[in-house]
């Protein structure tokens, strides 16, 4: 089960990519775990998570084709 993960702002300094496709994660917690294994510096980063453009503040199930965004604190304006 694949989801697309997209990165923004200072997170891209760690991932060096704007997006990756991750397979086999049933929920956000397991996805975050997988990402930290791939990008260890993420463990110390502060960020918000959005699934399909909606902010999520707790663990929740993922489904095929979801887009998960990792967003550091906003600094527009």
């Amino acid at each position: 089960m694949e989801v697309q993960v997209i990165f923004f702002g200072s997170i891209t300094d760690i991932t060096l990519d704007n997006s990756v496709v991750i397979d086999g994660c049933v929920d956000i917690n397991s996805l975050v775990q997988t990402l930290i294994e791939r990008y260890p510096a993420l463990a110390n980063k502060k960020y918000f998570v959005a699934v399909n453009q909606k902010m999520v503040h707790e663990n929740s199930k993922l489904k095929m084709g979801d887009t998960v965004a990792l967003m550091p604190p906003f600094s527009g304006g």
Binding site: I6, F8, G9, S10, D13, A50, Q53, A69, M71, P72, P73, F74, S75, G76, G77
Partner: protein
């Protein structure tokens, strides 16, 4: 001018002063307007560790900004008696002295336009997924932080 408009707020590069004049001029036909309130964000030549900011490069999660802005617009038109509200934010590189944010609210009486404009500036900084990277004279970069 519609209060359900969900067009993009993004402008590529700086927002020209001429655009601000043109937008003001367009509102002269709306004779129920008595007050306009405008906020402009301008790139400041801040000093960071012995070097100076020369530009900010903005990126955004554009689709999410559009969804979020549609919600925010609806909430603002419910809360304030606005005739219209226009918001523009730069994407990409904006040099020191140039304009990166333009918030423009209009109403019959001044309180609505003024209060909505003030609250919108705070809302944009707090709720829209936009990031600024400060670029310095020595080519170093620093991710901007809002307060």
């Amino acid at each position: 001018m519609s209060n359900k408009k969900t067009a993009s707020i993004f402008v590529s590069g700086p927002i020209p002063a001429q655009k601000i004049a043109d937008d003001i001029q367009k509102h002269s036909a709306k004779t129920n307007i008595g007050a306009h309130s405008i906020f402009l964000g301008q790139i400041r030549a801040d000093e960071i560790n012995n070097t100076k900011v020369i530009a900010i490069e903005y990126t955004a999660y554009e689709e999410m900004v559009m969804e979020k802005m549609a919600e925010i617009r609806e909430a603002f038109f419910a809360k304030y008696a606005l005739t219209c509200m226009h918001i523009y934010h730069s994407l990409g590189r904006v040099a020191v002295g140039e304009i990166c944010l333009f918030v423009f609210t209009s109403s019959a009486h001044r309180r609505d336009a003024i209060d909505a404009c003030n609250e919108m500036v705070e809302t944009i900084k707090k709720e829209l997924p936009i990031w600024g990277k400060e670029i310095c004279t020595d080519e170093s970069t620093v991710w901007k932080q809002n307060n």
